[in-house]
Symmetry: C2
């Protein structure tokens, strides 16, 4: 079965020059409506991300910006990337740089983490249904999931209770 190519599907063969120019045009239009400016660094940053159809580290983007004559210091890239993320034109692939004791040792599992933003506690939720939905969503694009990271930030019941008072 062949799936319909769509605009989020970087994997499907497509006219990528058109894909890029359309995204750039949409970005200009959206920013104009919001009264935000697509300045040269920001525009070049978006172009750099669009060229690749892959995730790039901030320092890789920074190198390309420097080649194009912009500053060589980290904030140059981080600011432009942050602007794009804030305006819905790019995503940041998350991090948390942390470790937690396993609460279900021996079950050979790939859990979903629930992290309370108030008390910082971490719980592990049962992930089977989440993972099966993920696999099927991926399957629609022909993608095979091998490992997945699912981390939710929110409110645990104790902190939610305290909040509501």
């Amino acid at each position: 079965m062949q799936h319909e190519p769509d605009q989020g599907d970087a994997f499907a063969p497509h006219d990528h020059a058109l894909c890029q120019s359309r995204a750039l045009a949409e970005a200009e239009e959206r920013l104009r409506q919001q009264g935000a400016r697509l300045t040269p660094v920001r525009r070049r940053t978006l172009e750099i991300l669009l060229e690749a159809h892959r995730a790039m580290g901030a320092y890789e983007v920074l190198d390309r910006l420097a080649e194009a004559g912009f500053g060589r210091q980290p904030p140059v890239a981080y600011r432009a990337l942050e602007f794009l993320v804030e305006h819905g034109l790019a995503h940041r692939l998350q991090r948390l740089n942390a470790f937690a004791a396993c609460l279900h040792p021996g079950e050979d599992h790939a859990p979903v983490f629930l992290i309370c933003r108030v008390c910082d506690k971490v719980a592990e939720a049962h992930a089977a249904n989440v993972r099966s939905e993920l696999s099927s969503a991926a399957g629609e694009l022909g993608f095979t999931v091998e490992r997945a990271t699912v981390e939710a930030l929110g409110l645990c019941p104790a902190c939610a209770g305290r909040d509501a008072e």
Copy 2:
């Protein structure tokens, strides 16, 4: 409705001293079976993680290890943490430190990322079902999801095809 407390639920009120000692005993038993050794650093590292019921950065763990008389250098903590993760006694909350252009700007979405481990391309999959399963799994523990990160690593159709040949 009250949910049944279970061993993965750090949010439920529970006898945490018992929770810790049980986890430690289970760890010892599991490692013994595998012929791996719960040495002093490793044991203290696991205790540190268990004390908190929250995720801790490697450097925070390192500080605590140093207080307990172990080395003050990053590898001391990273090695012990890696050992615990390898043996299923701890989890690493993932990272990817990267940015990608949004492929659906304007849809105000929280997408699921599919990252091909061979070609590094990133696609955005439709996330509604994944997120609703996530919310309901979280809901069973009384947790309210505000933001969630879902990143899958695997094979895109093109690279899977190449692989199969």
